[in-house]
Amino acid sequence: MEMNLIKVVPEFIMLGTAFLLLVIELFIARGSRKFFGVIGILGAIATGISLLYQETGSALGGLFIQDQVAIYFKALFVLCAVLVLYITMMYEDKIKHWKGEFYSLILFSIAGMMLLASSSDFISFYVSLEFVAVCLYVLAAFTSENRNTIEAGLKYLITGALASGFLVYGISFIYGSTGATGFSAVATALKTAPGSGFLVLGLSLAIIGLTFKISSIPFHVWSPDVYQGAPTPVTALLAAASKGAGFVVIMRILFTALGGIKAEWMVFVAVISGATLIFGNLAAMPQKDLKRLIAYAGIGSAGYLLMAVAAGSTLGAGAIMFYMLTYIFGILGSFLAIVIFHNSEGSDLIDSYAGLSRRSPLLAFSLFVGLLSVAGFPPLGGFIAKLYIFAAAVKEGLWVLAVIGVVMAIVSMYYFLLVVKSIYLRPPHNTAPIHVDFTSRAVLYVVNFATIFLGMYPGPVTDWVMDIAKVLF
């Protein structure tokens, strides 16, 4: 049983930064904690650099696997960490108490997601999942003076704990019917003994439990309330990083561990995907609050990603990986613009965005690019990602699902274009320009450029993710 701790160095750097912030917090007086964000970003960059030097292999006695997919997702989480910490620095004045702990908890949750991306055993997977979840429960209820935030935090905790219960109950049946908890050991056990009734029951319960993390039906109800009520940096973290963490483990469990019984889960995942697509996109249409609208759109996105999971092929897995990259840029760019706008106007209502293009062209353009990329508008990154997902679904014969997906993509363009219409075409309520400082401008330019670049010239990235997605099978 070799420990091989060198493979866990990126996680250690991330955790070390988080602990460092907690210790610094002890020794300094109250006041601004913006430099905590800078330290956190430096720690995240150090983590990213250490990822470049990682080689594939396993560690911690087989509980931890470092493969190309894990490294790719860890790089995405580091990217999320940098952007979310920057968004937190912009948002910091709204947090009254324990500002230092807020930064630290973000880093802890990102470290948990990195462990999750590498877990190769149901035990390490469950513990990492709960590590992330516990950090996020605290973050979602963080600004406890606010009635909505407390409400959001409690709803998140109760649905999350219920979903964890389903998940671990499912794990117990998978363990009971295969006699193993390691993902590759489960796959080996399935080769000799075909699936029993217990296994299918366990599989269904585990998938239902995991739908909480990715906010798809049946555990989607928390998402609109939490997105609206939680502090905006936490919403951004949930929307981008937490969803990616959910999908990397779904891919590992369904493709690697249970790939041998694809026939048993394919239809189940396809049905969840179709229901999620229809519900998320239709419920987004009447929304008045932008964060709530993004929550319903996020439910819709989970439907698209599940469509690629249902395809269960290398093309599907690569499509998920590319979709997450474009989604992170699109959604985090939008959230940075939302936080800057909220700092100046104190409102998240779509109506209050009227005439934004005349007050701050850059914020208007960032929301335009970010939201339309999530909607899948050509030529932005999200369009290419959706195209790959449809291709994966059609190739596996999921025609009905692909048709639902295309129709719902048009619906999603409708409600995102309503926001764009409010931003560009309606007269502003107040004509005072909104000030955007230099670093925020630079970050917004980089994020928008990345979204457009991924749409115009996706070739190298898609070839690369399609290549590394093979290790899952």
Partner: protein, 100 residues
């Protein structure tokens, strides 16, 4: 003779009571207690499988599961205190400020 099936039926009954408690009860304290019941029913099932299969993996997961359940309920109670401070009530039905 107590067999694996007996343990699984017991675990299923407790799990169902727990889920029903989360979905139906109004008081947040009872909801948290029901969550605890869910986690512990799963522990029974894991321990039974572990004994039946004669491998330790299930038992290890039981230990982690107890820790996880304790952490979640601790945070739940902390949030509950804040809910009571802001609303002077711990009824789930009061938590309906956000809707479109």
């Amino acid at each position: 003779m107590v067999t694996l099936t007996h343990f699984l039926i017991l675990s299923f009954i407790l799990f169902s009571i727990g889920v029903a408690g989360v979905l139906l009860r109004r008081s947040i304290i009872i909801v948290l207690m029901s969550l605890e019941l869910i986690f512990n029913s799963v522990n029974i099932s894991l321990a039974a499988f572990s004994y039946y299969l004669q491998t330790l993996n299930g038992t290890v997961l039981v230990v982690f599961n107890i820790t996880v359940a304790a952490a979640e309920v601790a945070i739940g109670l902390a949030i509950l205190v804040n809910v009571y401070r802001s609303r002077k009530s711990i009824n789930v039905e009061e938590l309906n400020d956000m809707r479109y």
